[in-house]
C-alpha cells in the first residue's frame, strides 16, 4: 500500500508516544491506521507496517491473528458487530441478531451483504450490557436498539456510502 502523507504524519505522531527504542509498541496503532481505509489488511498493508516499524512480517501476522479486530479477509465497508454474549443474550440479543441478519438478507450466522457494504457478525461482550441489544458499527456504539432503528441506521449508512461513491 505505502502510506499516504497524512498517514505518515499520523504514524510519526503514534511513534512519539513510545520510547524511541520501543517502536514495536506501535504495532496495534499502526495496524489500525493501515486498516482504516478498507476495514481489512492485505499483504501490502502488512508489509508496510512491518517496514515502518522495522519488524518481521511474520510478527505482524501473528499480532493480527491474535487480536480479533484485525482482519486479513475482505469485509464490508461497515462492520456490524452484535453482542450476543450472556448478559445481552439474557435480553434477547440472539433473536435480535437473527432478525438483523434476515433484514440484511443474510443467513443466520451473518456474513457480508452482496453489495459488500455490510458485514454482520456476532461478538462477545462489548461493555454495553445494560443497553442490549447493542452493537458496534465500525467501532461506534449503537445501543438499546429496536428493529426500526436498525433500518434507519442502515438506510443512513447506505445513503452515506452512495454519496461518497458519487
Amino acid at each position: 500500500m505505502g502510506w499516504t502523507e497524512k498517514e505518515q504524519q499520523d504514524l510519526e505522531k503514534i511513534l512519539k508516544k513510545y520510547p524511541a527504542d520501543r517502536k514495536l509498541s506501535a504495532v496495534l496503532p499502526a495496524l489500525y491506521l493501515a486498516q482504516r481505509e478498507k476495514n481489512w489488511l492485505d499483504d501490502d498493508d502488512i508489509e508496510a507496517v512491518a517496514e515502518a516499524l522495522g519488524i518481521e512480517t511474520t510478527h505482524v501476522h501473528s499480532i493480527i491473528g491474535f487480536y480479533t479486530l484485525f482482519r486479513k479477509e475482505p469485509v464490508g465497508k461497515y462492520m456490524m458487530e452484535v453482542c450476543t454474549d450472556l448478559p445481552c443474550a439474557l435480553r434477547g440479543a440472539e433473536d435480535f441478531f437473527k432478525r438483523l441478519c434476515e433484514r440484511m438478507g443474510l443467513g443466520p450466522k451473518g456474513g457480508t451483504t452482496e453489495d459488500n457494504l455490510f458485514t454482520v457478525e456476532e461478538v462477545v461482550c462489548i461493555a454495553a450490557c445494560d443497553k442490549a441489544p447493542c452493537m458496534q458499527i465500525n467501532l461506534e456504539f449503537f445501543e438499546s436498539l429496536t428493529d426500526e432503528q436498525i433500518d434507519e441506521v442502515v438506510a443512513g449508512l447506505r445513503a452515506q456510502a452512495s454519496n461518497n461513491g458519487a
Partner: protein, 888 residues
C-alpha cells in the same frame, strides 16, 4: 550467606546454586521431571504445564521469625495450594518438592497429558518422530492410559504444510510449546516463526520471504518435542530405531560442529547435531544438516582414471600409482625436485595433510606445497600460534565483562554457529560486542557497537585501535613486558596512526575509535575475531596480534584471537605446514622456501603437480592455462571437477563420512570423526593415496590407519603432543555430562567428545618473549571513481559439495549484483535489470538486486557462485576492487 541451597526432592536431598530451577535441581539427582516447553537453552515459559509438582516451604513463625517445628522438632512444611511448574520455579532453602511422591501432582500431570492428547492425531505409525518422540515417551510414562475425549471432535489443520523449502509443519501434531518460535527468537535471532491466532486455533506460521528464512531452521526439528516439525529431507527416511548413530564432524566450515550421522543400509539418512558445549552446543546450521547429499551422489568417482589421449579411462590402483611414480620420478630426475609441487585443500584431515607434506618434503624433496587456493587464498592466519584464544575458551559462556571485537567477518554467513554464540554472548549474557565491517551484516542488530569502515582500511583501523590503547594509557604493561619484546619500537611506529589519520582512512570518528579501544582494553576478557572482509593483510594480523598482547588479552581462556578461516580443516592445514615456507607446528622453513600455490599455478611454475581436494581450474582462467601446460597432473577428488577433467591421472578419494580422521577447528580444537558409511567403488582415504604414491617413489611407510598417522603427528609435532585417537575419541565423563550436558528433547544417544585444544605461545610462562610486529599497511588504493565491488562469501555457495543437496539448492544465489536503493536509483536500474560491471578491461554482465543491507557506494557480488563472476573482477584471491557499473 552461602550461594548454595539445599532442598529435598521426592525425599532425596540435593544442594544446588541459588537461582537454580527445580527441574534442573532434580536432574542432578536423576529425577527427570517431564517437560515439553522447557528447554535448558531457552528462557523458561511455563506454558505446557507438564512439569507440575507440589512445592512446600518451611513455615516461618510470624512472631519469632524462626521456622516452626512440629512435635518431633522437625520443621513444618507448608505446601502451596496449587501445583507449581518446576520449570519456572527456583529453589529455596529447605524447599520440599514432590514429583512422584505426590498423588495430586501425578494426577495433574496426567491431566495435562490428557489435554495435550485431545488435539493430537493418532498417526504415530507414520510419524518421523516415532521412536524418539518425547510426547510418546512421556505418554507411556505419565499418561492417563486412556482418553475420554471424543476423537471425532479434533481441530483439523493441513498436514504436511511447508514452512519453507526445508521444514515441513504438521500442525495437528503441534502441542504449542513454542520451542521452535523461541529458538528462532532467542537463539537464532531470526524471528521468522510465530504463533498466529489464539486459543485452540493458534498455529505456527512463517511469512518471511523465502519462507522460514534462517540458516538455523533445522534445529527447530530437533527441539520440537513432537513430530510437528520435520525436515523435508528426512521425511519418511528411516525409523529412528533402525539407524546407526555415528559421531561425526561437519565438513562445511571452520567451526567444527559435532554431528551425528544417522546411517542405515550404507547410506546417510540424516545429520543431527551432537552436543559439544565448547563448540556448537546443541546446534548445527542448515548447510551442515542438509549438505550431505554429495556423499551418496551417483557422480562420485569410484575408480582411478588414466588419460589415454583425450579420454580418461578406468584403471586399477596399481596402474595409476605406478604411472604416477614413474612420471614424477622422471620429472624429478630431469628437472630436479623443485619442478614438482602439490596443492592440498583444507577439507582434508590432519592425517591426510601430514602425510601429504611428508611426501613432498621427505620423499620428493621440495617445499612446493600449499593449501591456499580458492577461499583459502583469500584469508590467512598465523596469529593463532602466538595469541589464539586460550585453551578452555567458551564463547557459549562469556558475557558481562567480555568485549568481543569482530573485524570483517559476516559470521552468519561465514561461520553460522559462531554467530549464534557471539550474538548470544551479547544479547543474553551482556558481553560488549563491537562489530566492525565494511557493510551491514546480520550481527549488527545484536550488538552495542558497530563500526563501519571503508573497505581496505581494516589494517589501519586495527593499528588505530592499538595506537589509541597506547595513547589512552591502557596498555597492560606488566604482562606485556613479561611476554613481549619490541614495545618501544612499536610505539614509535604507531605515531603515524593517530586517531585523526585513522579516522580519515576508515571513515570513522576519532571518538568511535577511542571508545572501542577503551571498551576492548578495559574488559576483563577480550576476544578478537577477524574474517575474510578485513582483507588478507599481514599488517592487519600483526596489528591484531599486538593489540591482544598489549592489552593482556591473550594467553588465558576467553582471551585471544580467532581467525574465521573458511574450511573445516583450514587451521589443521596451517598446523600441518601445508605452506611453502612453514613446516608443521609453525616452524619456518630454514633456507629453501618453496613455491606458493599461485606461483605453481603460473605458467612455467612447475612441471608436475598433485592436486588433492582443490579445484583451481574453476577459480581463474589463468590457472586453467597454467594447468594445461603441465607435463603431468594428478588430481585426487570426490568428483570429476574441472581440474580433474584436465588431469593425467584422477584418483577417487573417500568423503569424510566414509573414513575416520581429525580436523582442527578455528579455535584450534582438534576433534575426531568416525566412519559412517562405505565409500563408493574403490575410493581410498587421502592419506592412504599419498602413502601409495610415496611407496612408488621409494618410501616404506607403514601407516595402517588414520590413528597410526596421528600417533606419528603427536611425536613429531609438539603442538599435537598427547593427541592420539584414544584421547581424542574418549567420551566425556559422566560427571561432566550431568553438569553441562543436556541433550534436551533428543532421545538418541551418541558419544559426547570434547576434543583437545593446543596451547598457544602466550599461554606458556617459559616460552621466549613474543616479538611485537609492526607491518606497514599497503597504500590505500587511489581514489578511483566508481563503486566498491566486494566479493563476500555466502553460506550457500556454488561449491561442489552443496550442489547435490536438492533441498538447499533453491537458496543458492544466482550471481547477482546487490546494490543499495540509492545507488540503483542513480544508475536508473531496479531489481532484475542487467548491468555491466567492468574493471581494467574485464567486464561481466549480471542482474541487479536491490538489497536493504548494502551500504551506499558498495556493490556486493558474492564469490564462489556459478561461473565465478566475482573472481573475474577481484581476482581469485581478492576481496574487493573499484568497478564501473552501467546499465546494459
Amino acid at each position: 550467606m552461602s550461594d548454595n541451597v539445599t532442598l529435598t526432592i521426592d525425599g532425596v536431598q540435593v544442594t544446588v546454586p541459588k537461582g537454580t530451577l527445580i527441574v534442573e535441581a532434580a536432574k542432578q539427582i536423576e529425577n527427570e521431571i517431564p517437560v515439553f516447553c522447557y528447554h535448558g537453552k531457552m528462557d523458561p515459559v511455563g506454558m505446557c504445564r507438564m512439569c507440575l509438582v507440589e512445592v512446600g516451604q518451611p513455615a516461618i513463625d510470624r512472631g519469632t521469625g524462626k521456622p516452626e517445628l512440629d512435635e518431633d522438632g522437625n520443621p513444618v512444611v507448608r505446601f502451596f495450594p496449587k501445583p507449581m511448574t518446576a520449570c519456572t520455579t527456583t529453589v529455596s532453602e529447605g524447599m520440599v518438592v514432590k514429583v512422584d511422591t505426590s498423588e495430586a501432582a501425578v494426577d495433574d500431570r496426567k491431566a495435562v497429558l490428557e489435554f495435550l492428547l485431545t488435539s493430537h492425531p493418532l498417526d504415530c505409525p507414520v510419524c518421523d518422530k516415532g521412536g524418539e518422540c518425547p510426547l510418546q515417551d512421556l505418554t507411556i510414562r505419565h499418561g492417563p492410559g486412556n482418553s475420554r475425549f471424543d476423537y471425532e471432535d479434533k481441530q483439523h489443520f493441513p498436514k504436511r504444510y511447508p514452512l519453507g523449502d526445508l521444514i515441513v509443519l504438521d500442525m495437528e501434531r503441534c502441542i504449542i510449546c513454542a520451542r521452535c518460535v523461541r529458538f528462532q527468537q532467542e537463539i537464532a535471532f531470526d524471528p521468522v516463526l510465530a504463533i498466529e491466532n489464539r486459543g485452540r486455533r493458534a498455529h505456527i506460521v512463517s511469512y518471511s520471504k523465502p519462507g522460514f528464512d534462517s540458516h538455523y531452521s533445522g534445529n527447530t526439528t530437533d527441539v520440537c518435542p513432537v513430530g510437528a516439525l520435520t525436515t523435508r529431507d528426512f521425511r519418511f527416511g528411516a525409523r529412528a530405531w533402525e539407524m546407526t548413530n555415528v559421531p561425526s564432524l561437519c565438513n562445511h566450515c571452520g567451526v567444527g560442529c559435532n554431528t551425528v550421522l544417522g546411517t542405515r543400509a550404507g547410506t546417510i539418512r540424516r545429520i543431527m547435531p551432537r552436543q559439544n558445549e565448547a563448540v556448537n552446543e546443541l546446534w548445527i546450521c542448515d548447510k551442515g544438516r542438509f549438505g550431505h547429499h554429495f556423499n551418496g551422489s551417483p557422480d562420485r568417482l569410484t575408480t582411478p582414471l588414466i588419460r589415454k589421449g583425450e579420454e580418461l579411462v578406468e584403471a586399477t590402483w596399481d596402474e595409476a600409482l605406478s604411472l604416477i611414480g614413474e612420471k614424477f620420478g622422471a620429472i624429478k630426475s630431469a628437472n630436479g625436485a623443485d619442478s614438482l609441487g602439490g596443492i592440498a585443500g583444507a577439507r582434508l584431515t590432519n592425517e591426510d595433510l601430514y602425510v601429504f607434506q611428508k611426501l613432498f618434503r621427505e620423499i620428493i624433496g621440495t617445499n612446493n606445497i600449499d593449501h591456499r587456493v580458492g577461499l583459502s587464498a583469500a584469508l590467512e592466519d598465523e596469529t593463532a600460534f602466538t595469541v589464539g584464544v586460550g585453551v578452555g575458551t567458551d564463547l557459549g559462556s562469556v558475557g558481562k565483562g567480555t568485549t568481543i571485537l569482530n573485524i570483517g567477518a559476516d559470521l552468519d554467513q561465514d561461520a553460522p554457529i559462531l554467530y549464534l554464540r557471539v550474538a548470544g554472548a551479547s544479547v543474553k549474557r551482556g558481553a560488549h560486542v563491537i562489530n566492525a565491517g565494511g557493510r551491514r551484516t546480520k550481527l549488527d542488530a545484536q550488538v552495542q557497537t558497530t563500526l563501519r569502515y571503508n573497505y581496505g582500511s581494516a589494517a589501519r583501523l586495527a593499528l588505530g585501535l592499538l595506537a589509541s590503547v597506547v595513547s589512552q594509557g591502557l596498555v597492560a604493561k606488566e604482562w606485556a613486558d613479561s611476554r613481549t619484546s619490541g614495545m618501544a619500537d612499536l610505539e614509535k611506529a604507531l605515531k603515524n596512526f593517530g586517531a585523526d589519520k585513522v579516522a580519515e582512512a576508515t571513515g570513522l570518528t576519532t571518538n568511535a575509535i577511542d571508545a572501542a579501544a577503551k571498551a576492548f582494553a578495559e574488559a576483563e576478557n577480550g576476544i578478537i575475531i577477524f574474517g575474510l572482509e578485513a582483507g588478507n593483510d599481514p599488517a592487519l594480523r600483526a596489528a591484531l596480534e599486538a593489540l591482544a598482547l598489549a592489552t593482556g588479552h591473550a594467553g588465558k581462556p576467553n582471551n585471544g584471537v580467532i581467525a574465521v578461516l573458511p574450511h573445516a580443516n583450514s587451521r589443521g592445514a596451517i598446523d600441518m605446514g601445508i605452506l611453502p615456507d612453514r613446516l608443521p607446528g609453525y616452524k619456518p622453513v630454514e633456507s629453501n622456501a618453496g613455491l606458493s600455490a599461485v606461483e605453481m599455478l603460473t605458467a612455467g611454475g612447475v612441471k608436475g603437480l598433485l592436486i588433492a581436494a582443490a579445484d583451481p581450474a574453476v577459480e581463474s582462467e589463468s590457472y586453467k592455462q597454467a594447468l594445461q601446460q603441465l607435463d603431468f597432473l594428478v588430481v585426487q577428488e570426490l568428483f570429476l571437477t574441472e581440474t580433474a577433467q584436465m588431469a593425467d591421472v584422477v584418483l577417487p578419494a573417500k568423503g569424510n563420512a566414509e573414513r575416520d580422521g581429525s580436523y582442527t577447528n578455528l579455535e584450534r580444537r582438534v576433534q575426531t570423526f568416525d566412519m559412517g558409511v562405505p565409500a563408493p567403488g574403490k575410493a581410498w582415504a587421502d592419506w592412504l593415496i599419498f602413502t601409495g604414491i610415496a611407496g612408488q617413489l621409494g618410501a616404506d611407510w607403514a601407516y595402517a590407519s588414520a590413528d597410526g598417522v596421528m600417533a606419528e603427528i603427536t611425536q613429531r609435532v609438539p603442538l599435537y603432543a598427547g593427541m592420539d585417537f584414544k584421547n581424542l575419541t574418549a567420551p566425556i565423563s559422566l560427571q561432566r555430562k550431568t553438569e553441562h550436558y543436556i541433550y534436551e528433547g533428543m532421545s538418541f544417544t551418541t558419544d559426547i567428545r570434547e576434543g583437545i585444544q593446543w596451547a598457544t605461545v602466550a599461554e606458556s610462562d617459559s616460552a621466549p618473549k613474543i616479538p611485537l610486529r609492526f607491518i606497514e599497511p599497503a597504500k590505500a588504493s587511489s581514489q578511483e571513481q566508481g563503486l566498491t565491488l566486494v566479493a563476500p562469501r555466502m553460506l550457500y555457495d556454488g561449491g561442489r559439495l552443496l550442489a547435490e543437496a536438492d533441498v538447499v539448492n533453491a537458496h543458492i544465489l544466482e550471481p547477482q549484483l546487490m546494490l543499495s536503493r540509492s545507488d540503483a536509483q542513480k544508475l536508473g536500474v531496479s531489481t532484475g535489470d542487467s548491468v555491466t560491471v567492468s574493471q581494467n578491461g574485464t567486464a561481466i554482465t549480471v542482474p541487479v538486486y536491490i538489497e536493504r543491507t548494502v551500504s551506499e557506494g558498495v556493490a556486493l557480488l558474492p564469490r564462489n557462485l556459478a561461473g565465478r563472476p566475482a573472481e573475474k573482477l577481484v581476482g581469485p584471491n581478492g576481496l574487493y576492487s573499484t568497478v564501473k557499473v552501467e546499465k546494459s
